[in-house]
């Protein structure tokens, strides 16, 4: 197995050798690099988690409206749908979707969020981790560890590929967030480092080639709903790995491939808002017939 520095395989090898979860390896690495004690770093992560929690709550409780009008309270709408008993697969699934929408909407509407790994993809991790933790009764300590796993996976992707939509398309943003969340969920549920690796590989493989095509150049459409997709994909991939499915390719190879594909995505599909959905004319507002979505 290739264990070049900075690859997920190298962290995994260290975790297996020491008999500790991946989060421990990432936390110790961060502690060495920053010169800060692990307890200090854990407290900092908890602070960030709390910012994320506020963002989840805010969008569900108060319909958000963006300056362009393209984002208008879908998280609150989803919440009402759950309250009305509409959930197709039970409320747990719908709440996962609602939480991702909520954070992404708060971001679109100039609210406070944690970029993870980017502002555009900020809804994926909090939705996946908080919702599964709530369903399974996980502690904050376990959640803090899972967020270190997520961050460490993000570091690997940053090193081997890219986390930027302008460089690699949406696969690098929402896709990376989804892979980080998938791996973190596996650890949260007590999976092995090898299973984390499989979940990361599944999640990125599922969004391979996804372009970045923000309508009007704004982080609103399709971005907010792609966050919901990222969270759902993360949960599905974590479950597949926990159920014992194995990826044909190791995560590092899938990450590197994502990076290669990203570099070959034409520029009009990399955040320039010149292609994909961004190239479609936005329909006029139904109420006034003039601006877009002004009602």
């Amino acid at each position: 197995m290739a264990t070049t520095e900075g690859t997920l395989a190298s962290y995994r090898a260290e975790a297996e050798e020491r008999g500790v979860p991946l989060s421990r390896v990432f936390l110790d690495g961060e502690s060495r690099q920053s010169g800060k004690r692990p307890e200090v770093l854990e407290a900092l992560m908890l602070e960030r988690m709390n910012v994320m929690r506020q963002a989840v709550a805010r969008g569900l409780a108060h319909p958000q409206r963006s300056r362009s009008g393209l984002v208008r309270g879908d998280a609150a709408r989803m919440e009402a749908w759950i309250e009305g008993g509409g959930s197709l697969l039970g409320p747990a699934f719908s709440r996962l979707v609602a939480a991702a929408l909520s954070v992404a909407e708060v971001n679109a509407c100039m609210g406070r969020i944690v970029a993870s790994p980017t502002a555009g993809a900020c809804g994926v991790l909090p939705a996946a981790l908080f919702r599964v933790a709530a369903e399974k009764g996980c502690t904050d300590e376990a959640l803090v560890r899972a967020f270190f796993t997520a961050g460490g996976i993000g570091l690997c992707i940053e090193k081997l590929a890219s986390l930027s939509g302008a460089e690699g398309g949406c696969q690098a943003e929402v896709g990376s967030a989804s892979a980080m969340a998938a791996g973190a969920l596996v650890e949260l549920m007590g999976g092995t480092p090898a299973q984390v690796d499989h979940a990361v590989a599944f999640a990125l493989a599922n969004v391979m080639g996804l372009i970045c095509d923000p309508v009007k150049g704004l982080v609103e459409v399709p971005c907010v709903k792609r966050n919901a997709m990222g969270a759902v994909n993360a949960a599905a991939c974590a479950e597949m790995a926990l159920a014992g499915m194995e990826s044909v390719f190791p995560a590092d190879a899938v990450i590197e491939t994502m990076g290669k594909v990203g570099r070959r995505i034409p520029e009009e599909y990399r955040e320039t808002a010149r292609g994909g959905l961004a190239a479609l004319p936005v329909p006029a507002c139904e109420t006034c017939g003039q601006g877009n979505f002004c009602s």
């Binding site: 690099q33 100039m110 406070r112 993000g154 704004l218």
Partner: protein, 222 residues
């Protein structure tokens, strides 16, 4: 790059480049000016002009000028706060030439002091200041930075490094920028640690140094 660059920064949305980076550019300029500007002409270039409004870029730049950090929930209200505090601002679209698409030129004034800063938001909230009062610089606000204006002459850099090294200050980068040989020059010094008031004073008292300005390390918020 560490885990808190991945799970972070804490910021007000929607975009690390169009919002968080814009706040940091405004904050850099305010700190360089040394106080809150009385007036600001804000020239938006490229994508800052084209999609800035929907990203809150004008609000973010104003917020930075008003002293807010990228995670300040007051950012959406920056226009009202500026009006309240008597900061006269004006936005225009400008063409800064072959620069990064997310760029801006800030013309600031306060009490007769004037300052022009041009900078780009280069991704992830990181910035690059490329012009200060017509001098081409290359600063990112990650280090505490000292800027010295002086008439270009031999020995100025040596005098500055002597004071800094005597004070035990490690220099990350030092660069002299000049408009023309023998004309006015600008020295930028990025330090590993924040200099004391004593060190800044010693620099101010150097012969032939017209002006010493200091920009502390820019936070990311959260």
């Amino acid at each position: 790059m560490g885990i808190f660059d991945i799970i972070g920064p804490v910021m007000v949305g929607p975009s690390s480049s169009h919002t968080a980076g814009a706040v940091r550019i405004g904050a850099f300029a305010r700190k360089l000016l040394g106080e809150e500007p009385a007036s600001a002409a804000i020239g938006l270039h490229g994508s800052f002009a084209a999609t800035g409004e929907g990203h809150g870029t004008p609000l973010a730049l104003l917020a930075g000028l008003l002293g807010m950090d990228p995670d300040d929930e007051g950012i959406p209200a920056a226009r009202e706060i500026a009006l309240e505090r008597g900061l006269a601002f004006r936005f225009e679209t400008v063409d800064l030439g072959e620069v990064h698409p997310n760029s801006v030129r800030l013309d600031l004034a306060q009490d007769g002091a004037e300052l022009t800063v041009s900078a780009s938001s280069v991704g992830g909230g990181r910035i690059r200041v490329f012009d200060i009062d017509g001098f081409q610089v290359d600063l990112d606000g990650v280090y505490p930075t000292v800027l010295l204006a002086y008439p270009d002459r031999a020995g100025a850099v040596a005098m500055v490094t002597t004071i800094l090294s005597n004070a035990g200050m490690n220099i990350a980068t030092i660069k002299a920028h000049r408009a023309s040989r023998g004309g006015q020059a600008l020295m930028s010094v990025e330090l590993d640690h924040t200099p004391t008031a004593g060190v800044l004073n010693a620099l101010r008292h150097l012969p032939h140094i017209d002006q010493v300005r200091f920009v502390p390390r820019l936070g990311f918020g959260g």
